[in-house]
Amino acid sequence: MKGIIIYLLLISFSFALAEGNAKNTSIDKAAIFGVIKDSQNQAVSDALVELITAKEHFSSYSQADGSFALAIDPNRLEPNQITILKISRTHFESLEIELDSSQMAMLFLKNPASLSLGEQTLKRHISLGFWLAAIIFILVLVFIATGWLHNTLAALVGASLAFLFTYLGSLIIPEMYIFRFPRALTYIDWNVIFLIMGMMIVIAIVEHTGIFQWLAFAAYKASKGKMVVLMAILVLIASIGSAILDNVTTMLLMTPIVVRIALTLKINPLALLMPSIFASNIAGVSTLVGTPTNILIGSYAGISFNDFLINQTLGVVLALLGLIIYSQIIFRKELNAAAKASPKILAKLEESAKITQPGNLKKSAWVGLAMLILFVVGEGIHLNPAVIALMGSTALLVWIRPNIEEMIKAVDWTTLVFFMMLFVVVGAIQEVGLIAQIATLLANIVAGNLLLAMIVVIWSSALLSTVIANIPFTAAMLPVIAYLSATIPGAETKVLFYCLSVGAAMGGNGSLIGASANMVAAGISERAGYPISYGYFLKKGMPILFISVSIATIWLVLRFMVFGG
C-alpha cells in the first residue's frame, strides 16, 4: 500500500514535471523513478542511481524511503544506444539494468517523459566491514559483561573502532568501510536521549526527598510485625518505583532502608531485598519509562505509554503475585526468624526514614502527576514522550529553582553518551547487514508461525539478558523484530515488541549481571556485610525468571492471540 502511494506520488510528480515542460513548449527534461529495497523489503537510502551511456552520465541518490527520481536530458540520449541504469551502495551488490527499447521510448515521450522502474531489490554483500562491525559489537558486549571496561567507555571504543576502520582502514583495504560519521548520526534516536535526560532531572529531584525511605518505614509500620506482609508491601513499593522512575534509582534508594529494617528486626536483609530486586525488574515493563529497554522499544516501534500500560500491566501484576508466593516459600526460614526490635534502634530507624524535603516532594508530585496525565493523553495530540519529559523537568526546575549547576551534574551524562555511542555501534551492524542476516535466520526458524515467534523472542531475549547487557541486545533486536512483525501474519499488532520488552527486562532476574539494579543492590548489600554472590543470585533468581516469564508469555498469548490484541 505504501509502495502504491509512493508510485502515485512519483507519477504525479512526473506529470507536474511534464506540465511544467509543456508550458515551456519544449521538452528538455525526463525522469526515471523507482524505489530501492533490500531483500527484506526495507527501504535502501543513499543508494547511488546512475544512468550510463557511452557518452553520457546522469546520477542521483535514493531517499530515506528508498525512492529515487533521476532527472535526465533526453536530448543527450540516443534511443538506440545501450543505456544502463546502475544502482550501487556500500554493503550491497550493485545492480545493473539495461534499458530496453520500450523503456527508452518512454523517455522520449512528450507527455510525460518519464519511466517508472518500480521496485528494485538490492542484494546484500558480505564485506570485510561486515565482519569488523560484528566483531566490534561482540567486543562491546564482552567488555560490558565482564566489566573490563565501563559501559560508556566500551560503547565509545566500539564507535571509534567503526570510524577507524571506515576512515583509515578503508584507505588501505577499501572493504573495511563500515559507515561515515554523518550516516552514523542518523542511527542515534534523539527521542530516547531526550526522554532519558528529562527523566533523569525529575529523578534527581525526587531522589533527595526521602520518599522511598519514608515509604519503606511506613511499610514496616503497616505490616505490624508480619514479615510476609512487609515483604509484599516492599515488593509493591519497588514495583511502583521502578514503573514510574527506573529500576536503578529505585534499588539505590530502597536497598539501604530495606537493609536497615532487616537489621532492626534481626533478620537476613536478603530475605527482603531479593524480592524487591526481582520486583523492580518485573514491574518496569509495564510503562514506557519503567526501563531503558522500554524507552528504546517505545521510540522505535511507536508504542505509547498507554499501549505499554494496557498491554503489559495485567501480565506484570500476575507475575508479581507469582513473585510474592515464590519469595514467601524460599525465604520463609529467614522471615520467620524476625525478633523484637530494640526501641533505641527503632527510633534511629524512624529518624533515618523521614521526608527530608517535603516542599520539593509536593512539587515533584504535582509535576509528576501532570507528566503522567500528558503521557496518557499525549498520544492523542501527537505529543512526544521526550517532549513531555523535557517540559516536566523544566517546569520542576523553574518551580523548585535548585542550584542549576548541581542539577546539570545530576544528569548522568555518561549514560547519555553510552546510549549515543551504542546507537552508533548498533547502527554499524545494521549498516553492514548483520541485523538483516539475523532477521532472516529468525524468520526461517519461526516460519511465519506467530506463537512460535513469540516464544522464541520472549525466551531467547530473557535467557540472553542473563549473560549479556540487555540494552545493547534490545537496541540490536529492534530492526529484527520490525522485520518479523512485517512478515509474520498477525504480528502487526506489535506483539513481538512486547515479547522483547518482557524478555529483556524480566531476564534481568536470571543473573547478578542481568540488570544494573541487581549490581547496585548487591554492591550496597555487600557494604552492609551481606554480599550477594553470582551463585546465590542465580539460585534464587533463575526460578523467578522462569515463573515470571512463563506468566508473561501466557498473558501475551491470551492478550494478542485469544483476545485479539
Binding site: I345, I524, P531
Partner: protein, 153 residues
C-alpha cells in the same frame, strides 16, 4: 582524664555475620583490657565504577546513612557490655581510611575481620586479605588483631 590514659582499639566493621565475629573479638579485648572501642565504617563506592545510571552523590548519602545505622547497632551492643565506644564514619579506600584514623586516634590495636572464602577463592582471598593487613601493619604503629587468629605486627 580517664580516657586520656586508656588504650584504644580500632575496629572496622561493615555489618553482617562476618563483621559480628570481628566486633565480638574487639568487644572481648576491650572488656578484658578495659580499652576504648573505636568503631569505624568506611563508605566505599568502588562498586559503582562499572555501573551506569547511578547518581554517586545520592549513593554516598545512602551508604553514609546505612553506615551510621550499622555503627549504632554495634555501639548499642558494646554499651550493653559496658564498653566505652566511639564511632567514626569515613569515606574512601578502606585500608587507607583505617590507617589514617588509626594514626589520628593513636590506636593501640586494630581489629580486622577475616572473610570466609570458598575452596576455589581461598588462595586469592587469602592473598588479598594478607596484602590488606600488611599495608595497615606497615603504615600504623598499632598491633593488628585478626578476628579469629591473633597476629602480631
Amino acid at each position: 582524664m580517664h580516657n586520656l590514659i586508656m588504650s584504644s582499639i580500632l575496629c572496622a566493621i561493615r555489618g553482617g555475620p562476618e563483621s559480628q565475629i570481628t566486633l565480638n573479638k574487639a568487644m572481648e579485648m576491650a572488656s578484658q583490657q578495659n580499652l576504648i572501642l573505636n568503631l569505624v565504617y568506611v563508605v566505599n563506592l568502588d562498586f559503582l565504577s562499572t555501573i551506569t545510571g547511578v547518581n554517586s552523590s545520592v549513593a554516598e548519602e545512602e551508604l553514609h546513612s546505612m553506615g551510621e545505622f550499622i555503627l549504632e547497632i554495634a555501639q548499642e551492643e558494646a554499651q550493653d557490655k559496658n564498653i566505652e565506644t566511639k564511632s567514626f564514619i569515613r569515606q574512601g579506600n578502606i585500608a587507607e581510611e583505617i590507617i589514617k584514623l588509626a594514626n589520628e586516634i593513636n590506636a593501640d590495636y586494630i581489629v580486622l575481620g577475616k572473610r570466609k572464602a570458598t575452596q576455589e577463592q581461598a588462595t586469592t582471598e587469602q592473598s588479598v586479605v594478607l596484602d590488606f593487613i600488611e599495608k595497615i601493619a606497615l603504615e600504623t604503629t598499632a598491633k593488628i588483631v585478626i578476628a579469629e587468629n591473633e597476629i602480631k605486627e
